[in-house]
Subunit: 395 residues, 2 copies
């Protein structure tokens, strides 16, 4: 069987995602779509709008065949690490074709990545701050004539670099995104496709009439009936403040990505007489020009999850394939590849795994549920949970 | 000027406390009543019903002359350490007379403590668990004929032992408590005095008509208008669960009083499928026979405040006299004794102190306010706060 790989967040799953799944299979002639998806927290350091199981269901109902989790230590990372983690997992599952959206689908991203590698070997581009990112793009444009500035292009470039840097064989298939641009904040009334961020914005404003046009019916149902992260900002900030007020700066200093004395600034701002009263204003108050907003949000998430540098490094060096769900076709594909899978396949998390490899994802799931105010007696996100087996209904 | 010392929690300040202040001055012929009072958390590991400033005001309005804080590292401790900390502070302020309530005011507690010391030098009574406490009391009764079982007697005995164990000179004056027994849970309709615990119970049930009979008018006003800890149980448990779910057992194991692998049981119960849904039921689920309920509550508070063994030990070895408030007479007394005070007197907490000696009280204040949902921009509990100077109105 031939598989096509997709890297996604599905935050939430919308019509554009369904179209993308369909196209991915069409352009590659694949039998199954294998999706590696962020778990309960997404790349920008925010809680996913629906938990990973709900998002898995929606993807399976709408074209995905095999869903695996991008572990939190790969998912909540800058683009290049996010891409590396995702590519590694797809490759480990025997996937050799990757389809992704791009603003410039005609660009040969692999070629671009090779030229970039040459530039990097000359210069100093290890710094990942905003300023350096711009300088990097400028130099790349000078050498290649291509301006790397659109968000999907940047991700596509990261995938190419990840493939290049590893020993995996993976063909890249950029496809045009249908209608909605990544950063579009407004839902165009005439379209049935909108960006996930515009959908989240509409949800925050309670504009259901806009949302219902651009998501499948079952996404709409899940958003209305299941716990969502729409109300998470306050409890998130409450817990974060609690940690900042009670941990020592020594403890906070061990958090992953806590650099340049940031822990002192965090505590200073949190205990100031005129301390910010919302998470967004807090981030703005602690952020400096050297950090992107997303990086600061990720660092705050690591702080909330109390993920230390050493734990992060150990986890990243010990990855796995966590099954979230499959269709019959996805299951058949899995049977075909599992003996030669290059990472351990985990279909069920027990106490042992929850304390070892899986501990960061396990913790992320516990905190997502805590933020949702879900009773601990409800089914958890990980322990004893089995992958979803979606059996398609006959038409 | 002659001072009489009182050790109190004023949780909340009630008519019995006003009577006790009056009697303390009368029986000792003292000019001023010096009170060392628990701060924002009390001996049983619970948040005080009103913050330390409100309780200070009420005490000053009703007979106290000089209010100092019993630091959290002394206040939230088993009786013998609570007594040692309080006696040390009073003695450091030149107080040589201690008045306290007792069920048996005719007993010579100093003599009892001396006889107990002889018993202890023979036996093994360093264990402080419930079982040992009973065995200890039985042996003491055998030797002295006095059954140490009533709560105020036990505290009185602790004061005597604390005086005996230190080099302070302090005369003990047990006085009979007026009407209400310590553990009385019901407010007698005919009385104007009730126990603090019965008052808290009435407050939890919203029975204001019972409360108003047994507290001064200004206590009633404060309870109605100021932030109280009546709604703290849920946020306390939410934050505690968050910490248990995110800290490693290694981190939890460093918490003061976390013994015998308790950290594993705490995490196990907190993450269990049928995890307790309230703080009270959680405590019952983790408690073993070897621990009193109060000890378990204290350990949970240390966990919430993230107080580690080494921090606790350092703090206890470096005590201080934290001024909360005074009347003119109290201020005059303070002027008289301050040069020979045997501990540093702190009237204003700056950033330096908040990071050094005062850090545990500072943290306790921040968490009390966090539980109260108070905006951080409100006046804090410590930084830059000056002692209350209460000027009595002329009658």
């Amino acid at each position: 069987m031939k598989a096509v790989g997709i890297i996604a967040e599905y935050n939430p799953f919308h019509n554009g995602h369904a179209y993308h799944l369909q196209e991915a299979k069409r352009v590659t002639g694949a039998d199954v779509a294998v999706v590696v998806m962020s778990g309960n927290f997404v790349q920008r350091g925010e809680p996913a709008i629906l938990d990973k199981w709900e998002r898995t269901k929606l993807a399976l109902h709408n074209g995905a065949d095999l869903m695996v989790e991008l572990p939190v230590f790969d998912a909540v990372q800058p683009g290049h690490l996010f891409a590396q983690g995702a590519v590694q997992i797809l490759a480990a599952l025997g996937v050799h074709d990757l389809v992704f959206g791009s603003e410039h689908p005609d660009v040969d991203f692999m070629d671009l990545a090779k030229k970039a590698a040459a530039i990097e070997s000359e210069g100093q581009f290890t710094d990942r701050t905003q300023t350096f990112a711009s300088a990097y793009a400028a130099q790349l444009e000078e050498k290649t004539g291509f301006k790397l500035e659109d968000p999907n292009d940047i991700l596509a470039f990261s995938y190419a670099k990840a493939v290049l840097a590893s020993d995996v064989e993976m063909d890249l298939h950029p496809i045009a995104r249908k209608q909605a641009a990544y950063h579009d904040q407004l839902i165009d009334e005439a379209q049935d496709i909108a960006s996930a961020s515009s959908i989240r914005l509409a949800l925050h404003k309670g504009k259901w009439e806009k949302v219902e046009k651009v998501v499948p019916a079952d996404t709409l149902k899940a958003l209305k009936e299941k716990p969502t992260s729409l109300g998470f900002e306050k409890p998130f900030f409450d817990l974060l403040r609690y940690r900042l007020l009670t941990d020592t700066v020594g403890q906070l200093g061990q958090v992953y990505q806590m650099a340049e004395g940031l822990e002192y600034r965090l505590v200073g701002v949190a205990t100031a007489k005129e301390a910010p009263q919302s998470y967004q204003s807090f981030i703005r108050a602690v952020k400096s020009k050297r950090y992107t907003f997303a990086r600061m949000q990720r660092t705050m998430l690591y702080t909330l999850l109390n993920i230390k540098v050493d734990q992060m490094q150990a986890a990243m060096a010990d990855s796995y394939i966590r099954l979230l769900g499959f269709t019959d076709e996805g299951q058949a594909y899995l049977s075909e590849v599992k003996r030669r899978a290059r990472l351990p396949i985990i279909s069920r998390v027990d106490q042992g795994l929850a304390k070892a490899n899986l501990r960061l994802d396990y913790k992320a799931g516990l905190v997502w549920q805590l933020l949702a105010g879900q009773a601990a007696s409800q089914e958890g996100q990980d322990l004893a949970r089995r992958p979803i087996h979606y059996i398609k209904e006959e038409n």
